[in-house]
């Protein structure tokens, strides 16, 4: 708790004119007995900062409340080191910029916001970073293909020790089975020897790299900085202490036996990409039916990919692989007739040069849907397709070989599928009631074998890929300190894989370094707070261990939560989940927010000034409110905004606190959830929604209408919708009438 709090009011940016700062100062001095209250024309100026700095040094101030601009701006200016609590009261963006300056209601809003700021500063403590003794800075790379080797090499180059585990006898994976690769340098369209051997050699020459081949990860326990990996190797089982993990186990080709509709298994001369690659390595392109040389060859792309019956997604590299293979055929014999049937030719970036080269060599392309294949005489194949360019059916006859460009299936999607519902314990049997939380899906793929309460492998996002948010945080899986790279993460080609693996190595290093300093890794990088569990209050209800979106909490035999702070992302979802209020952060906890709610002054009913508490997610909704201010959109004067780390941290008790105090309504603004969620903590906003389904009981107990609580999903670009969203809610509250608890 801050010992000495000082309040600084900024009169710059029109605040001095738009608000009665003297009255505001009085709130601090009279109501909260704060001695040091100062006003300055520009707190963000050098002198303004100096003023605060001096008070910290001379007066022993350790809690600074700054009323002025949004906490999202001037963050460095108002950073006074880790030991000073700084609370910013947003009177500019969310004050005079979206409410009429000089207005009585605007003044009341500013005063309430100041009250909440002071209360928050009072309740906050300086976080002490969670530091682990002897954290390991070794990086474990699982998979020794192009992605694994690249990640290991990059990490080793940055002087981090690496342990690499490869299941096969030899390193190299898929890349080592190639006949030729396409040059990764200009002109980007030549065939050359695969360079994977050079990469392997470079890795083997690194002194700080330990490579286990014919090896497998049996078990991983612990947390970032403290993982213990049990690895079975040719020479028995070993245990390695590692700090971070890169999963680079790649993908496998889609099972072609499921592609009977494209002739595989029915006609001997229908083969797959892999089979043609093998022929190229043998130096002969022949018809499997009679071993005769193939002179007419067709490729069918998207074989199984982009097909809801098979793989609903684009496998990203089969177009480019087929282009490369077409070049094999043309380089061997320019007179070989080569046809490519595609749906969309996806040769992004520099691959365009390859595509063009293949066209120059005379390969004929067909853009067609619904490509049909038949067998003619002498095992020759016939393809029929609708050519969209001439808008007619085209027939290609006398084909010696048809190559199916099979898509890729991530290795994380192999094995038995396990569905874990976050609400499993509570919702059993009564699914219809209330919104459900999307269950987590993972496969028993036997890659990581984590000793995590929430399952042994990475939860998958879609189609079995272990991503967590492919747009905002592409490398992050749902397990802190474990990064997926290469084709296991998303379908990709060689060039992308190299970039991807390098990125994953950097992410792993970032994890090690931040963990060593006791800081959150992602997305609240640098945050030193972490959840503390008051187990004396815990009733073993398991809500926290079930709901933590990142599997940070294990359980002991008695179902007590066992926190692993280095796995934690500091979202505070556990805090929101806990009915016992047993979980808190030094600078963010249930009482603190509850006290903030209670600090709001609720006018008597006859004053006709309703009050709405807005809990806004810090990641999207709060910045959206700021943006509304920057665009000078006008918002309802009745709102009082409280930022939350994530709506997942929303504890139902706050709603009860608010309504019991006579506040008319509670509006929750959080990220989009569901299938294409945008929530930075994956499930936070969804879990909040789920908890609201239970608020009804509370409201009923208070004899209040359930309309008084509303949750709306907003993304940052929805800023322009905010006036309407808020107005709409205010109108509804007007219809419902004032909260009967006013004045109690």
């Amino acid at each position: 708790m801050a010992k000495k709090i000082a309040v600084y009011l900024c009169s710059g940016c029109g605040l001095g004119e738009g608000l009665n700062l003297e009255a505001l100062a009085k709130v601090a001095t009279k109501e909260y007995k704060i001695e040091l209250v100062k006003t300055h024309p520009a707190l963000c100026s050098a002198e303004g900062r100096q003023l605060i700095q001096e008070d910290i040094e001379k007066e022993g101030v350790d809690g600074v409340v700054i009323a002025g601009c949004s906490p999202r701006v001037n963050t460095e200016v108002f950073d006074f080191g880790p030991n000073i609590i700084v609370e910013r009261v947003n009177l500019r963006e969310q004050g005079i910029w979206c409410h009429p300056p000089g207005d009585e209601d605007t003044q009341m809003l500013a005063e309430d916001q100041l009250r909440m700021g002071i209360v928050k500063a009072k309740d906050a403590q300086v976080p002490e970073p969670y530091k682990v003794e002897e954290i390991s800075k070794t990086i474990l790379v699982i998979g020794g293909g192009l992605a694994g080797i690249t990640a290991a090499l990059e990490a080793a180059k940055a002087n981090y020790p690496v342990v690499l585990v490869e299941k096969n006898e030899e390193l190299g994976g898929w890349a080592a089975r190639l006949y030729k690769q396409v040059t990764l340098k200009p002109p980007y369209n030549q065939l050359e020897e695969p360079d994977i051997k050079d990469r392997i050699k470079a890795l083997q020459e690194k002194p700080n790299v330990k490579i286990y081949t014919s090896a497998k990860v049996e078990k991983i326990s612990g947390a970032p900085g403290l993982f213990d990996a049990t690895i079975s190797t040719k020479n028995g089982t070993v245990t390695e202490r590692v700090g971070a993990i890169i999963l680079a186990t790649g993908a496998v080709p889609y099972d072609a036996s499921k592609l009977e509709h494209l002739g595989f298994g029915r006609f001997p001369n229908v083969i797959t990409t892999d089979m043609l690659e093998e022929m190229a390595r043998q130096g002969k392109f022949v018809r499997p039916s009679d071993g005769k040389e193939a002179k007419n060859v067709a490729f069918i792309l998207c074989a199984g990919s982009r097909d809801p019956e098979h793989l609903p997604y684009c496998s990203a590299s089969c177009c480019v692989d087929s282009l490369r293979q077409a070049l094999y055929l043309k380089e061997k014999d320019p007179d070989t007739a080569v046809y490519i049937f595609y749906r969309d030719l996806r040769a992004p970036g520099q691959h365009e040069y390859l595509y063009k080269r293949v066209q120059e060599e005379g390969v004929i392309f067909f853009r067609s849907d619904n490509t049909q294949i038949e067998e003619g005489s002498n095992n020759r194949l016939v393809i029929r397709a609708k050519d969209v360019l001439v808008n007619e059916e085209v027939i290609v006859e006398d084909l010696d070989l048809v190559v199916l460009a099979t898509g890729m299936v991530p290795t994380t999607a192999l094995g038995e599928m396990i569905v874990v519902g976050a609400e499993e314990e509570e919702e059993k049997g009564k699914k219809e009631e209330g919104p459900l939380v999307r269950p987590d899906v993972y496969f028993r793929c036997d890659l990581l074998n984590l000793e995590y309460r929430q399952g042994p492998e990475l939860p998958t996002l879609k189609y079995g890929f272990p991503d967590s948010h492919f747009i905002c945080f592409p490398y992050e899986t749902r397990r802190t300190g474990i990064y997926a790279a290469g084709t296991v993460r998303a379908p990709m080609d060689m060039r992308t894989t190299i970039v991807d693996a390098t990125g994953a190595a950097l992410k792993a290093i970032q994890c090690l370094e931040l963990t060593a300093q006791g800081m959150a890794v992602h997305p609240r990088s640098l945050d030193t707070s972490y959840p503390e569990f008051n187990l004396t209050q815990c009733t073993q209800c398991k809500r926290c261990t079930v709901e933590c979106p990142f599997g940070a909490l294990n359980e002991d035999e008695k179902a007590n939560p066992l926190p692993n702070p280095t796995r934690c992302r500091r979202c505070a979802t556990c805090m929101g989940a806990c009915p016992q209020r047993a979980i808190s952060f030094k600078n963010y906890n249930v009482n603190m927010i509850g006290n903030m709610v209670k600090a709001i002054e609720v006018p008597e009913e006859d004053e006709e000034k309703p009050r709405i508490v807005v809990f806004a997610c810090e990641n999207d909704a709060y910045p959206a409110l700021d943006m509304a201010g920057m665009k000078r959109l006008q918002l309802s004067p009745w709102i009082r905004v409280i930022p939350l780390r994530c709506l997942g941290s929303m504890n139902l008790i706050w709603i009860a606190d608010a309504l019991a105090k006579g506040i008319d309504g509670v509006l929750l603004l959080g990220c989009k959830h569901g299938e294409d969620y945008q929530c930075h903590f994956v499930k936070g906003s969804e879990l909040c929604n789920y908890r609201l389904s239970k608020i009804k009981e509370t409201l009923d107990r208070l004899a209040l209408e359930s309309d008084r609580v509303r949750m709306v999903q907003v993304e940052i670009m929805d800023w322009h919708k905010l006036p309407e969203i808020i107005e709409d809610f205010a109108k509804r509250l007007e219809e419902v009438g004032p909260n009967p608890y006013k004045g109690f």
């Binding site: 066209q359 390969v363 085209v394």
Partner: protein, 382 residues
Amino acid sequence: MAVRVNPDFYRKLKKFGGQSATQCFHCGNCTVVCPLSTEEYQFPRRFMRYVQLGMEEKIKHSVEPWLCYYCGDCQRLCPRQANPGEVMMALRRYLTTTYDWTGLGRLLYTSNFWKLFFVGLLFFVTLWVVYTFHGPVVTEHVELETFAPAHIVHPVGYIFGTLLAVLLLSNVYRMYKFILGPEKISLPASVYLEELKTLLLHFFTQLRLRMCTDKSRWIKHWLLMSGYFIAFMLVNIDMVTRWSLTNEPPAWWHPAKLLWTYATFAMLYATTEAIIGRLRKKEPIHQFSHSTDWMFLLLLWPTIFTGLLVRIFMEADLALPTYYAFAFHLAFTVPLLGLEVPFAKWSHLAYRPFALYFIRLRERARAMQQPQMATEAEAQSA
């Protein structure tokens, strides 16, 4: 009707200079930018696909290649360097050999051996004929008619010319069959006659070339064309007035002589410019030269030049040089006309205006059918 993909056609078209067709990825920029492509006659993108798929029948029956005047806008803008203008050119070369029933055209276009063989043959045979059959050689002063008696040269020339015209028109008839044959149009003879105006208009003006963005091409081409035409007419007039093949040439201001001077310089300028252009390869039309393009220019330029020499030597009254120049003039003229007009590049002088003539016939036929169709539809609905 399903299209059977035929890879052999593309292999064949390579010989005509159309190998870049496979590079097209059908963005359609070329057709959009082409100033000559229309709603009904769209090119060149569509033809890139026909070539890729080997749709030979479709191409054989198409008139579009003759509607392209190789202004090259498409080529400049193709993002794929697929050279659509050159592919259209290759299709014209291919069509020229398809219309030609003798098979000589195909030999000229696809084989350098035969090209050299026929040019050489006609060249040396002509020289040999002049050497063997020329009249007495008067060396005191120029007596061209004594050397080459007009009563022999003119009739031989006419026989030669008639033969070429018959060959060319027989090929035009095959072109007609290919383009309009499948439609089985029936028109009264008067329409065929009426529409001759279209034919003549385009023959004399090459108006469509003016639709190209770069208008200078039309001027250059028209210079050349007017030169040919005037030269052709003057050769005929020589029969009557004897301004050229005579022992007593008229004075320099004789109208025929003045016209002739114009024709010579117009043609010399245009051909020299074309040769330089093909060497520099700056303009799309000159970027890719097929061997037959060089054959044409390398016969045409010396023909004009030796003609000029004959005139100069005559004016200077240098007897032997005149006879030599005359002999070589003939030696270049015979293969030029004999090969180029019915079988090779020069045949476009007929194919281009005829293409427009056939289109007009098609339009007329449709216009005549339409009222008929309308009444039929009415009858049906009633």
